[in-house]
Amino acid sequence: MEDLIHLDFKGLVVLLMSAVFVNNYVLQKFLGICPFLGVSKKLDQATGMSIAVIFVMLLATAVTWPIQYYLLDPNDLGYMQTIVFILVIAALVQLVEIILKKYIPSLHSALGVYLPLITTNCAVLGVTILNISTKYDFVSSMVNSLGSGLGFFLAMVLFSGVRSRMEGGETPEAFKGLPITLVAASIVSVSFFGFAGVIENLFK
């Protein structure tokens, strides 16, 4: 446990900012493309989905990090990581849904739709595994998850704006639907390159 990466406050801010802008999960790392393409058509849906993703990412990290370091590693069960993590995330999402339904029905009706979709969202499993493989300590892991979730949120909101502008445009027959959406995603993704230098130099 000694070789984990500990970050001071400044380091955490840089980590958060670069997770949102530079290493954007959707546009740079290609994680969570399905919801990005599927649910980004309307702004309110994009927002709902992203908030649910941020929530589940934080929760999943808070649960899987201790499991890895206090349960799997001491017992030499590191190879069980994939199975354990996906099951924990699936159970967690189910649990959150049941709790929300019982105690906060208004939030459930707003976010509940998106929760089952999140179980098989590779961004959530991805962030938990990446936190372990880059050896972040608990606080850094949580910050990284928050940044990744916010990055997902930013990409979704930006892209839903782009898509609503695209709706009125005249698209070549073969490009209608998914192809033009992907080309648009490519252009949105280029725009994120602009952030790369900014974050590096901002906190020098």
Partner: protein, 228 residues
């Protein structure tokens, strides 16, 4: 003849990536190098073959209500096996696939084929479907990686392409190039099949492999949204 058709189905007519639009994340992320594309494709094929066989063999035992969690456990088991094999025998591939190797678990192609095919068909048919779909995935990844690698880095499977190596368009190997090439390939399939191939022009909840199991679909507006 019918068996051959099952095998070939995944390669062209129901290509998992270009026609069913499943497994987009690894397709975009891994297709920067042709050699990685083959490695990823074969790893996914092995998992797909194993999970299809296991799920179709157990299809009468697994209760309907808990089938999705059962499938996920089975798939995760096969992924772990493949992960350990790759780590042991191809450490370089393990390095370059990185996070996307364990993420085969949540690859929609595998859960999608379990839900759409393996739980309704015999073991042999499911095995053939698994091989076909896996090879279709590998083939698409390979073609896409070839385009991106030749244009982006001027190399192909370790060979150097004479003129392009000095004039590479490096954005092709970065994220935007991935989205762009993928979009163009789907548009090409659309054009060649005159729009018949992609019956789900809109990418929404209804096209999700777990749509049938997703109880939310009936009450939620996300189902209607994609039909509209």
């Amino acid at each position: 003849m019918k068996k051959l058709k099952l095998l070939l189905n995944g390669l062209l007519k129901e290509n998992p990536v270009l026609v069913l639009v499943l497994g987009t994340c690894p397709t975009l992320a891994i297709s920067t190098q042709a050699s990685n594309a083959i490695g990823m494709g074969l790893a996914a094929t092995v998992v797909l073959l194993g999970s299809n066989i296991a799920i179709s063999a157990l299809r009468n035992i697994i209760p309907d209500k808990v089938r999705i969690p059962c499938y996920i456990v089975l798939i995760a088991g096969f992924v772990t096996v493949v992960q350990m094999l790759v780590k042991a025998f191809a450490p370089a591939l393990n390095e370059s696939l990185g996070i996307f190797l364990p993420l085969i678990v949540v690859n929609c192609i595998i859960l999608g084929r379990a839900e759409m095919f393996a739980n309704k068909n015999t073991v042999l048919d499911s095995a053939l479907d698994g091989i076909g779909m896996g090879l279709g995935f590998t083939l698409t990844l390979f073609v896409m990686a070839t385009i991106r690698e030749i244009l982006g880095s001027g190399t192909w499977l370790g060979m150097e392409i004479p003129v392009l190596i000095d004039n590479n368009i490096s954005i092709m190997t970065l994220a935007p190039g991935g989205f762009f090439v993928f979009g163009c390939m789907i548009a090409l399939v659309n054009k060649l099949s005159k729009g018949k191939a992609i019956n789900k022009t809109e990418f929404g909840c209804m096209g999700c492999p777990s749509a049938a199991a997703c109880g939310k679909l009936k009450q939620a507006d996300c189902g209607k949204e994609s039909e509209a």
